[in-house]
Assembly symmetry: C2
Homo-oligomer: 488 residues x 2
């Protein structure tokens, strides 16, 4: 494939200059269109060492307003990044609506390099490919334009270029050992690159091969492809996409109305058990740290169900250097203008650490669904996207504990009223809480659907019956301990 | 994957009946919507023998108006079908706009069976996968809704069902040897099916796995998935899709204005050469027939360039039992309501036979482009789609000869005027010809782009300089002979 792809008859020098001038000007204009249409554009540049992608990228961005783009040179992962899940360092860098992100090097480089160096087994390679396909698909499904360019030169040409660089003492430093290795193992690399491109060549996020012998011609090929697909993408913003089937193993879970809420603890029982489980949890935290296992705790529940107090009992058991609580409110502008999972990727713990989410990514299929903050297609797709997200965390090695804090409608009313009537608690109750309460039935339907569709075997939900808060707190601790112990 | 896919908690019998009733009613309504929106819907049913897809399909179509759907049971290819290219028998059956086509068995069955029986090598399997991905993608890119269902049962369940059928003398005949073989080699088949599903699971034409232990539940799963995606597809009709890069090897070709048109033959030379080459061609035809090589000859050219007379000189050299001439006019309603390549798939020759197309699929990037009969995205995508189409024919073993019959603008005027002034030729000249002539420059630009982008090494264009028709006719014969000899 790479050896014999399109040789679009390379234009004459004069025509090349003319088309290049036009394309550069066009790109300058397109920036504005992209901004207006709020299109996020993610561009991947890959290719052979010394193929010139850096210098071509340099030329392309010369025509752009620096406010509208960013360039990320993706070297090998740092020590810090290695403590995060695969794709983390890319996901946190996805562009906002209306902006360009150019990745100079990407997940392709990481995966093909790992495979070539035998650090990734064929099975792990296959798993990575699956993760990548899901990653790119969830971006394009959520309105991103994703284009991937591979800059192709022959073995001979690469050798010539590397020798040229080496022969000049001013450029000698630019040639790394890996470059020479690549040239020496050109055919082997080619085979792996071709396989990768074939494996990840989805029609919604396709690969474009760039004949890079002549740099101007390479720039023109990239620009013209880019411009054409921007035109198409701006016509497609917010279009619905096919719904995929969830293919993860789901466990049965009762509906909310089937859950008995009469469980309770006496004060004595509570004090005793709280103390016992908190101590136990603290000890486990040390072990998690030593074994570098990350823990992700997700809290969802009705307003006034007692999430805050529950979280406090978990958190207070933990060494504060090893955990973080993330209260999730409505998204900031920077968050709203990106994929809805972006702000959660950004808040993932390092290995050995714990992240506690006070409300979570499930907002997509609850409040965003009911308030119309996203389209029907968006939230219907989200169940699968969320299962994929959690699968990624699970494969990374995380313990994932998801709590639904459940109360009945009367209990909520009693707690609302109490808050209203207690001066120091009044801040906790807002008009919005009352408005949400009016939609109880709609919420209950959405929550039931959510529980059914995301109760995967690798990241199951746990119901905390919280009419009695003490019971719910002890159950949370106990559940967390059990889930951690399963992993240790 | 197949073993542990979504077990959406199977609803209770009562709920199942309720949802099934609703879904069946909904499908009846959706038919009308599909008709109104002119959406073509292609549905593939695959799965284990005895999984019940036939009976489920039977139930589903009970709710449909027979005018709106067709069912094709795809058995093994017939002798006739084996003389056509891979995918032929499926492509000719694609639904029209506003209609459903249900394929009971499909290209998946053909390819996985071939692989399991070692009739397809791993390399051939890979090629088939590529063909299938292109086939499904060109359908969805051109506005088709394509959904693929796999009906899953366990080895044990399959065995139980087959034994049940065998035990009853009324149903015994329904069990074929292949069914028993499949059950015996269940794990091996499973591996091949999973690989195939993974290889062809594109987000635009995804697979849906159906838990088929309970037939009503299986029907409901299929119906609900179908209904959801119909809703999405009707919102997406005529949306532009990303442009893919042509990855086929292209040869350089001159622009029309660079082609010298001063070539000519004397009457004597012409008579001599015509006779010589026609005899030669006739002999070659026999050899082609014996070797079962199909030939596809495609004629495009300016109005009054002399296509008709040129074709006549080829055709008259051939045994009429071995060739067919297909004059291509504007599409019939049945043709217009399907993928634009459909009418050409329908006119493909059998192996050993010759098809001559007087105008071709290149209408997409000439008249349809210039007259606005298709969208910009449609014709821009068509170069690659056409290259893929011709690659499919080439891989099948066809000799493909594409002629561009070239004259200059003055020559056209002279011939138009002569036609106008000669009573027996007046039928050959219409107002449309004059209107097209006014767009000469736009056509020239489109033709140049077409020649550049579709001059593949496996199906190159040949220019017939036809200011002198005699020269062009002899060149056509000579070129055809050369191309055939290359293959023999």
């Amino acid at each position: 494939m790479l050896k014999e792809f399109e040789k679009m008859s390379e234009p004459s020098e004069a025509e090349l200059e003319k088309r290049l001038g036009a394309a550069r000007e066009e790109l300058a204009k397109k920036q504005i269109l992209i901004k207006e249409k709020k299109l996020p554009v993610l561009i991947v540049l890959e290719g052979w060492d010394a193929a010139g992608k850096g210098s071509i990228l340099g030329k392309i961005i010369k025509n752009m307003d620096p406010r509208f783009f960013k360039v990320s040179v993706m070297h090998q992962a740092s020590e810090e990044e290695l403590r995060e899940p695969f794709l983390y360092r890319y996901f946190v860098k996805i562009p906002a609506a209306g902006k360009f992100m150019f990745f100079d090097g990407s997940w392709m480089d990481e995966v093909t390099r790992g495979y070539l160096k035998h650090e990734l087994s064929p099975e792990d390679y296959k798993k990575r490919i699956q993760s990548i396909r899901r990653f790119e698909r969830t971006l394009t499904d959520n309105g991103y334009l994703v284009m991937k360019f591979f800059f192709q030169i022959s073995k001979k040409e690469q050798k010539k270029r590397l020798e040229g660089l080496l022969g000049d003492k001013n450029t000698k430093w630019r040639v790394e050992e890996g470059d020479l290795w690549q040239n020496k193992h050109y055919e082997e690399c080619m085979k792996v690159y071709e396989q990768y491109i074939d494996d990840t060549n989805q029609s919604t996020a396709p690969w474009y091969l760039i004949d890079s012998k002549n740099k101007k011609w390479a720039e023109l090929q990239m620009l013209e492809m880019l411009l054409k697909n921007i035109d198409i993408a701006v016509q497609n913003t917010a279009k619905p996409v096919p719904l995929l089937q969830n293919l993860f193993p789901l466990e049965p879970i009762p509906k909310l109305h089937e859950i008995p809420l009469d469980k309770s603890l006496t004060d004595e029982e509570y004090d005793k058990l709280l103390d016992k489980y908190q101590k136990k949890l603290r000890n486990l935290q040390n072990e998690l740290y030593r074994k570098k296992i990350p823990v992700i705790i997700a809290y969802e529940g009705w307003d006034a169900a007692g999430k805050g107090g529950n979280i406090k009992r978990i958190a207070s058991a933990l060494d504060p250097r090893g955990y973080e609580v993330h209260p999730i409110a409505s998204p900031e502008p920077a968050e709203k203008s990106r994929h809805y999972l972006w702000r959660f990727w950004n808040r993932l713990p390092k290995t050995g650490h714990t992240a506690i989410f006070d409300r979570t990514w499930y907002g997509r299929v609850m409040v965003e669904r009911l308030e119309g903050f996203c389209s029907e297609n968006d939230w219907q797709r989200a169940y699968n996207e969320i299962n994929e997200f959690e699968k990624e965390l699970y494969d990374w090695g995380a313990v994932i504990v998801k709590f639904w804090v459940q109360i009945d409608k009367d209990t909520q009313l009693a707690r609302f009223t109490e808050r209203q009537n207690t001066p120091e608690k009044q801040w906790k109750i807002t008009d919005e809480d009352w408005r949400n309460r009016e939609k109880w039935d709609q919420y209950e339907e959405a929550i039931d659907e959510m529980l059914q569709k995301t109760n995967t075997s690798y990241a199951p939900w746990h119901i905390l019956e919280s009419n009695d808060k003490k019971y719910a707190r002890v159950k949370a601790l106990k559940t967390l301990i059990q889930e951690i112990e399963k992993r240790l």
